[in-house]
Structure formats: structure tokens, C-alpha cells
């Protein structure tokens, strides 16, 4: 392996890591706030892609298409939160965790089922960002796009949580729900906002994936699984850890893809998840 290939792998790995970080953050935020593990996350990412590609094809603007996709996903998120998740939040403790798994799993299967019927094709975004070459190191356009989009989004997310009142309120609820209530913070409202935010993050990750490769309905479940693994490895209530885990796993999986091939690389990813769960089972409980 030459040095150039090595550098290209690292750049690809970082881009993949950024996508992983967005997905992992989407799981971590919602689970940290309300103990709901959103198994429908990847499905919403695919919905964003399908809407974006359809709209972009109809009016000829990828940017408008992508924005429409995110708006649709955010609206759906609001509806899901107000209906299904309200029922889930009524129960407490372990009961809520189990209910959350099954309700979001059912939602994912239902939405996937509908999409298999109505949008069974492959979808990709013709983003038009040219690839660049620096000192013999080639970087694909989709990778440039990923850096250009994901870095500001993640920075914005941290800025929101650290600097705004709403972000502070969110962190308060994560740390101490009763305390937050006493300070006049309404946890239910925060959960709604953060759920919508998490779906937008997943939507962005989906759109970035569609910029580099074809997306089908079956990619939804795969994205969900990646998101959960990233969140678990990073510590499912720890956003910074999750983002770091995203980068780490992105680099590892890209290198493994190159060295041992796609299928063993995926097996490796699941093995990492199993190892982390066995080592730190108290992490998510």
C-alpha cells in the first residue's frame, strides 16, 4: 500500500466517520433524553433521500430537493413524536425502553413496507461537486461535500447544546429530569424538539450517503444498525464520545473494507459492538 493510498483511505475514513457521527448523535440524543432507542432512524434517512431525489428530479435543483427532504422528515418526526412516542413516554423505566424498541421497530417495518411498494428503485443524488486532487491524492466530490456539510452541522449541534438556552435545558433534562422540572423546563417539549432534530441529522447522513452511492429502501435498517453501534461504542448518553466513536469506527471500517473486504469488515463492526456490550453492559440501562 503506497502512501497516497493510505492518505486517501484516511480521508475516506474520516468522511465515513462524519456520517457515522451524525447517525450516532441522532440515537444518543433521543435515548439520552427519553430512553427511547429509535430503531426507525435509518428509515427516516431513506425517506429524506427519496423525497430529495424526487423533488430534485421534478424541479431541477438538488439543494431545494435536499431541503424539502429534510422538511418532510422533520414534519413526519413531529407527527410520530406527538402520536406514537406520546404513548411510549406514558410508561416508565425498563417498560418504556422495551416499548420504545418495539414501537419504533414496528414503525420502521411499516414504513419500509410502504416504501417497498411505492419507491422500490435505487436513489442517488447528482450533487455536481467536482473531485479535487492535491499532490497526487485524489478526493471524490462526495467526500468534499461530506466534509463541507457534516462539519458545520456537527459544530452547530455542539454550539446549540453548549451556547443556547434550549441546548442548556436539553442537557439539564439528560442529567436530571426532576431537577429540570423544578427549574421550569418541560421535558416533554424538549424531547419533541430533539426528536425532530435527530431525524434531521439522520436525514443529512442519508443524503450524504446518496451523494456517494445508491440508496435503496433496505439501506434504512442498515443505517439504523450503524447508528446504534456507533452510539453504543461511544457511550449511549455521551454525545462527544459518540462523535469520537463515529470517527474511530469510520476509519476502522474503511481500512477493514480495503484489507479484508466488505463482508468481513461488517462482521468486524458487529464484533466490536458485541465486545463493547459485554465489556460495559451498564452503559445503556
Amino acid at each position: 500500500m503506497s502512501l497516497t493510498t493510505g492518505i486517501e483511505l484516511v480521508i475516506d475514513g474520516l468522511a465515513r466517520g462524519l456520517s457515522f457521527a451524525l447517525l450516532g448523535a441522532a440515537i444518543t440524543l433521543v435515548f439520552g433524553l427519553g430512553n427511547v432507542l429509535n430503531l426507525a432512524l435509518g428509515t427516516f434517512a431513506v425517506i429524506a433521500v427519496v423525497v430529495a431525489v424526487t423533488v430534485a428530479g421534478a424541479i431541477g435543483s438538488v439543494a431545494v430537493g435536499a431541503l424539502t427532504g429534510l422538511i418532510v422528515v422533520a414534519t413526519l418526526g413531529l407527527v410520530v413524536d406527538r402520536t406514537l412516542l406520546s404513548s411510549v413516554y406514558r410508561s416508565e423505566g425498563e417498560e418504556r425502553i422495551v416499548l420504545g424498541i418495539f414501537v419504533t421497530l414496528g414503525l420502521a417495518i411499516a414504513l419500509d413496507g410502504l416504501m417497498y411498494v411505492y419507491v422500490p428503485l435505487t436513489y442517488s443524488l447528482a450533487h455536481g461537486v467536482p473531485g479535487v486532487e492535491l499532490a497526487g491524492v485524489g478526493v471524490r466530490g462526495s467526500t468534499v461535500l461530506t466534509f463541507a456539510v457534516a462539519i458545520p452541522v456537527l459544530a452547530g449541534l455542539f454550539g446549540f447544546l453548549d451556547r443556547t438556552r434550549l441546548g442548556t435545558a436539553t442537557r439539564t433534562v439528560v442529567h436530571d429530569e426532576t431537577g429540570a422540572l423544578l427549574c421550569g423546563v418541560n421535558p416533554r417539549r424538549i424531547r419533541t424538539i430533539i426528536f425532530v432534530v435527530s431525524l434531521v441529522l439522520a436525514g443529512i447522513a442519508g443524503l450524504l450517503r446518496a451523494a456517494s452511492s445508491d440508496v435503496t429502501v433496505s439501506a434504512g435498517f442498515e443505517l439504523t444498525v450503524f447508528a446504534i453501534i456507533v452510539a453504543i461504542v461511544g457511550g449511549v448518553r455521551d454525545l462527544r464520545g459518540t462523535v469520537l466513536a463515529g470517527f474511530g469506527l469510520g476509519l476502522v471500517i474503511t481500512a477493514a473494507n480495503f484489507v479484508v473486504g466488505a463482508y468481513l469488515a461488517n462482521v468486524l463492526l458487529f464484533a466490536v459492538a458485541v465486545a463493547v456490550l459485554i465489556a460495559r453492559p451498564e452503559e445503556i440501562s
Binding site: L37, L84, S87, V88, E94, I97, V98, L99, I101, F102, V103, L105, G106, L107, A108, I109, A110, L111, D112, G113, L114, Y116, V117, F221, V225, I228, I229, I232, Y263, L264, N266, V267, F270, A271, A273, V274, L277, I278, P281, E282, I284, S285
Partner: protein, 333 residues
């Protein structure tokens, strides 16, 4: 010995099931026979989930992988050694059972909550499926291979019935045996231990119950049933395909069947499996809505119908009896 009420229920079920393969093939329809086989296979899988999940709170989300491991172990060893798959079927069950036991042991040892075990087993499920598809040299990859190792043709010829009909009776025997075993288990010390461990592990431990041993026993038993049913499923389909063992193709169905029929009941798994297989057939006629409908059903069941059909019917029946002939029941004691 099993409780009398359970024996009656199993006998009644046997009376319903026994003529079924002959009835559906009366007009020579093999398609309906395939549906019956599917129902029998999934009913047995649901009995296994009932033991593991409903009784000991271990949410195994890798039934597909366990069935696959049982199937590939059985089929591949039989072919490599050149003996009948009937001889290697116990090995398949053993392999799946060992994995189930190991997972249960680690989970109980490390104090994993329901959700941690769920994610752990889901990761194993997906890893196993990657392996089934990816290890082409061993498993034949995504195109799979035809499988006829568990054929009952010689016996069917002797009895003068169609081979597939004979095999349906094998499946019926397996389902009934699993129900008898379940009834015995529930009535035994193990059953009492299951209840204690599920309701309060700390109190159970204090009462002298070995919590880890109890969970490992349930995990190993459930997993080995799945490992044994997998090859039977492959035989009735005539093929071993990775897609048969997918999460969506096995685990989701079995979960819905268990919750719909009724957890911790004898006939719940059978009723649930029957209802879903019938629903599936019904939906098959009005388009490709099958997956979507299953998802909606999963949500609705967990939000509004956690109790299940069998307990619901039981409640209605009891209420009806006490309303109509209350004194009689009291006299019966």
C-alpha cells in the same frame, strides 16, 4: 406428568391438527400444504420464544441466526461426512443451544438489562447473516443450495402417502412434543424458578434459586429448539437460503405471533402463529402490503394489546362462566 387442563388442551389441538394435512391436500393442493408446514414451523419457534422471552425476560433477537446455525451445521456436516441429516440434526440443535447458553450466561453474568441483551443478540443476528451470505465457499452464498436431507420418503412410501404430507406429520409431532415439554416445564421446579427470576431476580437469588443457571437453562433450551426446527424448515422449503434466516423473516414474525397469541400461555404461540400465517395469506391476495401490515400490527399490539388473544379469551370465558353458573363453578371448587 402434565397438568390435566394442559393435557386436554394439547389433545384438543392434536385433534384439530391431525386431519389438517389430509384435508388441505384432498384436492391435490400442495400450496396449502406448504402454508400448513410454515404455520407448524413458526408455531414451534414461537413456543421457544415463549420460554426464553416471556418466561425469563431474555429478549433474543437472533432466532433467525440460531435457526440458520442449526440448519447449516446439520446440512453441511451431513454432506461432508456423507451420513443422513437425521443423524446430524442433534448437532445442529446442539450448536444453536450452545450459542444460546453462552449468550444467556454472559448476559446474566454481566447483569445485562433486556435492551442490552436485545442489541447484543441483534448484532449477532446481523453478523451471522453476513457470514451466511459472505462465506460463499462454505454456505453457498446468497443463492444457497437445495436440501432434501431430512426426507421421509421411505416411510411415506411404506405408508402409501405423499412424502410432503408425511413430513407435515413430522412437524405436527415436533410441535405437539414441544407443547408437552413446555407444559411439563411450566409445572416443574424450573417453571417456578422462571416465575421467581422474572418477577424479582434479587428475591429469587435470596430464596436460593440460582438465577444464572435458570436463565442459561431457558436460553439453551429455547435456542436448541430453534436449532432443531431450522433444518426442518429448510426441508419443508426444499432449500437452504440465507434470506430464510433474516431478522425480518424470522424474529419479527415470531415476536408478533407470541404477543398476539399471548405470552406465557400454552396455546398462545399456536394461536398467534395461526393468525399471522392466515393473515399473511389473506394479505397476499390484495397486494404487497404484507410487510407494512406486519409493522402496523407490531406497533398496535405492543401499545394496545400486550395481553394477547388466549388470555383475553380465557378472561371472557371465565367471566361468562361466573356470570351464568357461578354456584356450579363454586361447587366444582
Amino acid at each position: 406428568m402434565i397438568p390435566r387442563a394442559d393435557a386436554t388442551q394439547i389433545a384438543a389441538l392434536a385433534l384439530v391438527l391431525l386431519p389438517l394435512p389430509l384435508i388441505v391436500t384432498a384436492g391435490g393442493a400442495t400450496y396449502q400444504l406448504r402454508i400448513v408446514a410454515l404455520f407448524l414451523v413458526f408455531a414451534t419457534l414461537t413456543v421457544a420464544l415463549n420460554i426464553v422471552f416471556a418466561h425469563t425476560d431474555q429478549l433474543f433477537l437472533f432466532f433467525g441466526a440460531l435457526a440458520g446455525i442449526g440448519t447449516y451445521t446439520t446440512a453441511l456436516i451431513a454432506e461432508a461426512v456423507g451420513i443422513s441429516a437425521w443423524a446430524t440434526l442433534p448437532l445442529g440443535a446442539l450448536a444453536a443451544g450452545a450459542l444460546g447458553a453462552a449468550v444467556s450466561y454472559v448476559a446474566a453474568r454481566r447483569g445485562m438489562t433486556v435492551i442490552v441483551l436485545a442489541i447484543l443478540t441483534l448484532a449477532l443476528q446481523l453478523a451471522a447473516l453476513e457470514f451466511f451470505v459472505g462465506a460463499r465457499d462454505i454456505t453457498g452464498g446468497s443463492t444457497g443450495f437445495p436440501f432434501d436431507g431430512l426426507s421421509v420418503a421411505p416411510i411415506a412410501d411404506l405408508a402409501g402417502v405423499d412424502e410432503r404430507v408425511a413430513f407435515a406429520y413430522v412437524l405436527i409431532a415436533v410441535l405437539l412434543a414441544s407443547l408437552v415439554g413446555y407444559a411439563r416445564l411450566r409445572d416443574s421446579r424450573w417453571g417456578a424458578a422462571f416465575d421467581a427470576v422474572r418477577q424479582d431476580p434479587v428475591a429469587a437469588e435470596a430464596a436460593g434459586i440460582d438465577v444464572i443457571r435458570t436463565k442459561v437453562f431457558a436460553g439453551a433450551l429455547g435456542a436448541s429448539i430453534v436449532g432443531a426446527v431450522g433444518p426442518l424448515y429448510a426441508q419443508s422449503e426444499g432449500y437452504v437460503l440465507p434470506s430464510m434466516f433474516e431478522f425480518q423473516a424470522v424474529d419479527v414474525l415470531v415476536l408478533v405471533m407470541l404477543v398476539l397469541g399471548g405470552s406465557r400461555t400454552l396455546l398462545g404461540p399456536v394461536v398467534g402463529a395461526g393468525a399471522i400465517v392466515l393473515l399473511d395469506e389473506f394479505l397476499g391476495e390484495i397486494g404487497q402490503w404484507r410487510t407494512a401490515a406486519l409493522g402496523v400490527l407490531l406497533v398496535v399490539l405492543f401499545l394496545y394489546f400486550r395481553q394477547g388473544i388466549v388470555p383475553k379469551v380465557q378472561d371472557r370465558y371465565d367471566a361468562y362462566r361466573s356470570a351464568n353458573d357461578g354456584p356450579d363453578t363454586a361447587a366444582d371448587g
